[in-house]
């Protein structure tokens, strides 16, 4: 990929990566491009993400400083999991019988995890927009407690635009692979988002073909079609 900056108009909040909503932090990874994010709740943050802000197919990013440059590592939520150590029992509980001291478990342990598949990287420009987006696999690994932020639509659009203005979705194969059984669905969710960002007819047509291809392929995989 070339290092030339994209030619989008800077300035609108919608296409800048500063002041975005933090939706969680990384807690573990399953592979180089597959991370688990713990979604913030009301106790973690003053402004916890609403359900539609950390939903399935939501593009996210993590800011990362490599050397002197600031990058965003782009990803998408492809899976979510709820965790409740109380297994459905609510309220304070007593300690175990052999535990001499009564310790009420008031720590809120219920939480929501999200699986994030990495899609690519981009350089953060001086004005807060992204430049030189690449959809190749990121070379660096993220760290535990790296903050995952909700990606605004403008950034998502920039990330999917090549320097010559074409639409790019080069990560699809990796995404389908990482997301497994939900791969087709998450890709379709992304395609749906891109439809709004790329209203031009030729882009819509390309998205149509891609959508059909994914739908057909997943139907074949599931044995619905042949």
């Amino acid at each position: 990929m070339s290092d030339a900056p994209t030619t989008n108009q800077p300035g609108t909040q919608n296409d800048r990566v500063d002041d975005c909503l933090a939706i969680g932090s990384i807690v573990s990874s399953n592979s180089h491009i597959d991370y688990t994010v713990e979604i913030y709740n009301e106790t973690d943050r003053e402004r916890a993400p609403a359900p539609d802000e950390c939903g399935f197919g939501q593009p996210v990013f993590v800011k990362k400083t490599i050397g002197v440059d600031e990058y965003v590592v782009m990803g998408v939520i492809y899976d979510t999991q709820l965790v409740d150590p109380d297994q459905g029992r609510s309220g304070p509980r007593l300690a175990q019988g052999d535990q001499p001291q009564f310790t009420p478990g008031y720590v809120e342990e219920r939480t929501k995890f999200a699986g994030v598949a990495l899609l690519g990287t981009a350089v953060i420009g001086d004005d807060g927009t992204i430049e030189s987006p690449t959809q190749q696999m990121p070379r660096w690994t993220l760290a535990v407690e790296d903050i995952v932020e909700r990606c605004p639509d403008g950034v998502t659009r920039d990330f999917h635009t090549t320097e010559d203005g074409r639409l790019q979705l080069a990560y699809i194969e990796r995404l389908l692979d990482v997301a497994g059984p939900l791969g087709a669905e998450v890709t379709l969710a992304l395609v749906e988002r891109l439809r709004e960002s790329f209203p031009a007819k030729e882009h819509q047509r390309v998205l149509n073909v891609i959508e059909k291809d994914i739908r057909w392929q997943s139907s074949v995989d599931r044995g619905v079609m042949r």
């Binding site: 959809q135 047509r205 073909v209 891609i210 291809d213 392929q217």
Partner: protein, 579 residues
């Protein structure tokens, strides 16, 4: 023509590298090639590779017969015709450049054996990984037609045998028909040996409008050039060869010794058949349903007349003879009289004394065109029958050296002949219903020994007598879509392999497959431009209708009485014209 390469092999290869052998193919002489470049090799292209046969490295020539895509973008990328698959691929980050791989099938033709002067199949396929090149232009020019290039012809000054060094244009007696269709215009010129097709006969087969007469015109031009000076006789039922006379003035046909081709036209007015030249079978063919008894009477009378010294007898003398034999009131002779007078005596074609002198008709360096467009089909056949029989006997007499015999008083033609039949199915119909068929069968089966070649031009191979067609050793086949005609070619033309037949429906006017004795392997060519004008263009119907209509509008209207019948003009015979 490309420059000869300096190669130490027997043939020499300098063509472009086009692909790699992937492995053996379906048939024993087939192999697969993988190539990334779809443009480098077209179907029908000649490619070459090197194989060591009995210790000598040989450049084997193979022909690409089929191609398929081995690798490329998935079909789902083509779901919307408005979106280029490359655009989808580009969006998905799929590489689009240099990803296509093609799998070609090739059939081994063989290496050119300078001792055998033809192709020899090495009976071994190239190893997988062998590099393949396009066969050099100059080499193809030397080995595709049956030119009999030997080791001596191909030896360069340094003593190396290099086929590409053979200068085909320096040879005499070759007809430049055109160039290989797969290569650039004029890159590989095809020169067909005239001796070969003049001896073993020629068939030009194509549906109408595909350039049959054009191709025949090209061959005739080549045959009238100073290095050939053929004796040509053209049976032209449509008057399509009127423009050949232009050859007389063209400098390219002039020889250094002052030779200019003669082009003679014979119209029905100066085409006459002496009745005594007819055989009894010919007469039977023109009579209306003679009964068995009539046939027997006629045969006997005819035989007696032919034994006479005089050759200027006519129908009257024949009838007198038959009345002598069978009596004046024989009913069959009476019936024959009516038929003979109607079919022969009243037909201006037949005379008692005049006969076209063969010396006027044929001569070396002379192209004689018999313009028979005003004659009925039966008369055309009669002329062909009698002329062919006389010419054949004259050639027979020359070859058997009857000229030395003082008692021999027939014609003698001391030079070989080539006779071309436009609408060949008229003269040798598959139905057998033509007096000319017999002599045409004789000439095609035996003419080679007597230096009498025939060229059959036809748009309906299925309507030509299969014996005649199968004897045509060289075939120029152009676009043919009719399945019956394709089948006729398949069954009667030996050299027409599957490759050739597959090409036929897809050819465009001016493209032809040349196969048979004159070629070492069938070749797809583009026929060259004619030096003289082509005379068989379609009539511009709409223009002529318009002009005719305008003329009619200008004429005063005239009323015409209704024909209530009873007159002597039925018009039917004239309209059909074939009776």
């Amino acid at each position: 023509m490309s420059t000869p390469p300096s190669s130490s092999t027997t043939t020499g290869s300098n063509g472009d590298l086009i692909g790699t052998v992937a492995g053996p193919g379906d048939g024993p002489n087939e192999f697969f090639i993988v190539t990334p470049d779809e443009q480098a090799v077209k179907t029908g292209e000649f490619i070459t590779y090197s194989v060591t046969v009995e210790g000598t490295p040989r450049d084997v020539i193979a022909r690409v017969t089929n191609r398929e895509q081995a690798r490329g973008l998935p079909e789902t990328f083509m779901a919307d015709p408005h979106v280029a698959p490359e655009a989808v691929a580009g969006t998905l980050g799929v590489p689009t450049e240099d990803i296509d791989l093609y799998r070609l099938e090739a059939t081994v033709i063989g290496f050119y054996d300078t001792n055998m002067e033809t192709f020899s199949n090495p009976r071994q396929l190239p190893r997988p990984g062998t590099q393949l090149r396009t066969a050099p232009d100059a080499m193809l020019e030397a080995v595709l037609p049956n030119l009999g290039v030997g080791a001596a012809d191909a030896r360069t000054e340094s003593g190396v045998v290099t086929l590409s060094s053979v200068d085909v244009t320096a040879r005499d007696g070759l007809a430049h028909m055109g160039w290989l269709l797969n290569r650039e215009t004029g890159a590989v010129d095809l020169h067909v040996p005239i001796d070969e097709f003049a001896a073993t006969h020629l068939a030009i087969l194509a549906s109408t409008g595909s350039g049959k007469s054009y191709t025949a015109g090209v061959l005739m031009e080549e045959m009238m050039k100073p290095d050939v000076r053929a004796s040509l006789l053209v049976f032209d039922p449509h008057g399509e060869y009127g423009s050949l006379s232009e050859m007389r003035g063209e400098d390219m046909f002039a020889g250094e010794d002052g030779y200019r081709p003669e082009v003679e036209y014979f119209t029905p007015e100066n085409l006459r058949i002496r009745i005594s030249e007819l055989s009894v079978g010919d007469v039977m063919a023109v009579l209306d349903n003679p009964s068995d008894r009539m046939q027997e009477r006629l045969a006997e009378g005819w035989r007696t007349m032919q034994q006479r010294e005089s050759r200027t007898w006519g129908v009257d003398e024949l009838l007198d003879e038959m009345r002598n034999q069978y009596g004046t009131d024989d009913a069959s002779v009476g019936a024959l009289e009516w038929r003979l007078r109607r079919s022969i005596q009243r037909n201006e074609l037949f005379t008692t004394d005049m006969n076209v002198p063969l010396d006027d008709l044929v001569a070396p360096g002379r192209c004689t065109v018999l313009q028979m467009d005003t004659l009925s089909r039966r008369d055309q056949q009669m002329i062909a029958t009698v002329l062919l029989r006389r010419l054949y006997q004259a050639r027979l007499a020359a070859v058997r050296e009857r000229g030395d015999d003082p008692n021999f008083d027939g014609d003698i033609i001391e030079f070989p002949l080539f006779s071309l039949f436009e609408e060949g199915h008229r003269f040798a119909p598959a139905t057998g219903d033509a007096p000319s068929l017999g002599i045409m069968r004789t000439i095609t089966s035996e003419g080679r020994k007597f230096g009498f070649g025939l060229g059959i031009i036809s748009q309906r191979p299925s309507k030509i007598d299969q014996d005649v067609l199968s004897q045509c050793g060289t075939q120029v086949t152009m676009k043919i879509q009719n399945p019956t005609d394709q089948k006729a070619i398949e069954s009667s033309v030996e050299a027409a392999g599957e490759d050739v037949l597959r090409e036929l429906p897809g050819l465009t006017p001016g493209q032809a497959v040349v196969s048979g004795d004159a070629m070492n392997t069938p070749v797809l060519i583009q026929v060259r431009q004619r030096h003289t004008q082509h005379g068989a263009d379609s009539i511009p119907a709409t223009e002529e209708w318009r002009t005719a209509h305008e003329q009619r509008q200008e004429q005063p209207t005239r009323s015409e009485g209704a024909d209530m019948g009873g007159g002597d003009s039925s018009g039917e015979v004239d309209l059909l014209g074939d009776r």
